[in-house]
Amino acid sequence: MAIIPQQHMNIIVCIKQVPNTTDVRIDPATNTLIRDGVESVINPFDTYAIEEAARLKERCGGKVTAITMGPPQAENALKEAISLGCDEGILVSDRKFAGSDTWATSYTLAAAIRKIADFDVILCGKQASDGDTAQVGPGISAHLNIPQVTYVKKIVEISAGAAKVERMTEEGYDIVETPLPCLFTVVKEINTPRLPSFKGMMRAKYAKLLKWTADDIEADPAALGLDGSPTRVVKIFTPEARKGGEILSGATDDVSKELVELLKDLVI
């Protein structure tokens, strides 16, 4: 890993609070998750982003700001992020954001980040464990018109204005060089998240979070919430367990031949 002389890096980490269970309830009217009353945790992939941000700060010097768009209870996620090494937290919360799809969410977060103004790196988790779309990170970079590298498994070098990272692929990894500011989405392979420190927990306890509404981030109301979402969730359901199917049995050679014939017939 290249050793970079001390400099000030402004790092933003986008986090999301997700339900701590696969047993979620769905609001039949809006086809979105009912989040109230369910135990919430920081999205697992985001913990890797927080850890990487903390490590970047240790490596380069600077400041880490955690930001989340969510209901008031998302404050807890920000406080936890502070206990894990972030310096401050911003809650972007407004009834007008309700029902946002990934386009509206990334628009909203981008607007908030524009208000922060000074940033060198934005870190996001690869995807959220509830939506699983992996779209918000790329969406933010699109709205901000900055470069993005997704599936980052290692930040090899970073200095004022440029970075070199490893992007994970199915076969291995690419090495990507990018100017800064840049947005990275990270995978689990990038690090092992630390446990909170006691001093971190005390900082989190007394931290004063910034809270921004739609007006504070000067968002275009038409771009927010359910109305600002070009996609519609039509239905969320647990798929029925698959039944039936044909089981081929016999010697491996014979079965393989039979399977090939069946596949040929289906013209797959």
């Binding site: 630390r194 446990l195 909170p196 420190s197 006691f198 001093k199 971190g200 927990m201 005390m202 306890k205």
Partner: protein, 384 residues
Amino acid sequence: MDYLLTEQQVMMRDLARQIADEKIKPVAAHYDETEEFAWPIMKIIADSDLFGVYIPEQYGGLGGGVMDMCLITEEFSRACGGIALGYAGTGLGTFPILLYGSDEQKQRFLPDIAKGKRLAAFCITEAGAGSDAGSIKTTAVKDGDHYILNGTKQWITNAGEAEVYTVIAITDKTKGSRGASAFIVEKGAKGMEFGKKEKKMGIRASATREVIFTDCRVPAANLISKEGMGFIVAMKTLDNSRPGVAAQAVGIAQGALDHAVEYARTRVQFGAPISSFQAIQHMLADMGTQVEAARALAYATARMVDSGAKSISKESAMSKLFASDVAMKVANDAVQIFGGYGYMRDYPVEKYLRDAKITQIYEGTNQIQRNVIAGHMIKESLKK
């Protein structure tokens, strides 16, 4: 039971519990088997800030006391009494500096200990001086602005791994109990060597070695307090650390008990889980009650120490005596409840029995504890 912990104490305890469950528990059996020192765990504890819990804030600590140390030691011990000793043994080795060190000595040593960068070890026991601590033979002879240490300390916890050693040695043979002094010796000092790692029944992840001084020159600036204060420093140190041993014992007992209850619920014999048999239920009830009583006594004593009470020896001895006897009994019963599986090393519970035994022996055998308690009770009765 609600022990009326402060919010900060709850945070500390929960963090220690998280470390115990997520980091120590998964590797406890491995370190017990290999007897390596668990440096990766020490690093995690250091990063959590918990090494400095009982050290004043001005020296980089969290400004807590013995009670906070007990909460954390108990949680670590529930997962592994041996690994917990890297933490608790450092506390024991640090108390002489904390209680009697000069401000200069505290500035020199406490910050790194608080950060977990350096571990500590307390050296009093010798081959010929266990319970009879007064008959130690290690000498410290003044030579200009140094003392020259000669002698061998035995069975020292953290020896070889720690960097800060608080050592009790004889400076004046003629003065009897006023003839010993306490010194701080740093690892790497010329004339200081370590023996081989001892092979123990339990707490195998804890490093126990001889510390051998051969014409070891120690700066006079490392003398704690004054010449002749050695045994007072040692006794006060043990008074402060015994509740920690009690906490370790409570943690070991609780860990064994948790395993026993879970096993009893799931083990089916004669068509029913054995937890439905009164014989087992009565054992569990007795075990649970005794652990709670040991915990209550340990915490009450720790709080008493933190309140600055002048006379704490009797209560300190009581907490250690009771909790260690409970740990042995509970661990023994836990093995019994597991039956044949309790005897197998592939199952976690026999380790608790092997680990519990030492708590009845070190930091003053339970026989010595009884002497101390009775001595104080008689003295108090005389005063009335």
